[in-house]
Homo-oligomer: 231 residues x 2
Amino acid sequence: MLLSGGLDSAVTLYLARSLGYDCLCLIFDYAQRHKKEIWRAKRIAGMAGCSAEVLRIKLPWGGSSLLDKKLFVPASRDNETTRQRDNIPSTYVPARNIIFLSFALSCAEAIKAKAIFIGAHAHDYSGYPDCRPEFYRAFSAVIASGTKCGCQGRPVVVKTPLIHKSKAQIIRLGQRLEVPFALTWSCYQGGSRPCGSCESCNFREKGFREAGLKDPALSIKKRFNFRERSR
Amino acid sequence: MLLSGGLDSAVTLYLARSLGYDCLCLIFDYAQRHKKEIWRAKRIAGMAGCSAEVLRIKLPWGGSSLLDKKLFVPASRDNETTRQRDNIPSTYVPARNIIFLSFALSCAEAIKAKAIFIGAHAHDYSGYPDCRPEFYRAFSAVIASGTKCGCQGRPVVVKTPLIHKSKAQIIRLGQRLEVPFALTWSCYQGGSRPCGSCESCNFREKGFREAGLKDPALSIKKRFNFRERSR
């Protein structure tokens, strides 16, 4: 299970658990701006009764506003034209999901896991190419041709159960599964509270609004009363 | 350029240089048994006049005799039957080349490199699925569908110039390109001298024999007179 600390991967984890999967959560510390999601992911894994492994990787070449604090994290692009929205935002981290999936694949082969779960979804598509179904189909072909399990006819399966769901549908599913939404962290900025203006905050806010629910993360300290690990 | 310290990637580096590529060498420290190849790779990059970046990654799940010193590195399988040779050896590291390529792809996208070079070859095929042409075709499809450069119609190209060459052909090519063979390290065991019995030593010895050349690595200390960094 690729777990980020965000809402989508938390719902995916709870969904996999509800389907009977025994999950090992892989959490990545890639010097992301919103590093606090790592701490949140560990808490979420613990609440789901799963073990977690934090993997530290270095991407010294940067190339993303999620990595380079000198770059600007763009605000929500809701007001942009359709044509502008086809551009890939500066928060895109080069090949990030490919790296994450590669590690998950290595782990899955070694521990003989049957599947990798990832919470990607293409509906509220913000321009990330590595969130689209065609990418996951291509990665599955890599598993079939480039791994031991693939050659032996037992390829690890990449599961993207949220891929065609909207944010509101994901939130409704998460509510049914009793996902601790208050613990999830979506904001690209690593501040003490969600910034409310980045694209990720915007998608989340819109999702809760469409689902007719209140986002419990906005009153997290009252509900969970835990100290955030300082950076 | 994915550089391992082995013979194949050194030839690939010198070939890329001869074709006019300005190369950045990525060297991986993945706690491999033959960790001394890292030091060799840095030396080779320096001799080729290229900069190098050593990336440390953890694969805590193991799953390979190259990672787990309690496992046995098999001797050459020359005497095995064809059927047995279809098995994948215990030196296979789960998804290793996929991880390496993912990092190289991230780097290439960030620095706007046109190509990734890797010294894989399928001719002296020892059973590694991630050394076959079909794997590299599949990975190219991942780049096309899952990256910014791919979506924008300028995908990073994965170059495998040795893929259809035999070891003897690679050695002859390396000789023409004046590759410092004495610096390259192929042995899977990390001893002070090549073990001479593992599959990698065997392929190398056979390659030099078929090319009608003497392997200068067997008298490396005399020729280069450098101290190996201790582990």
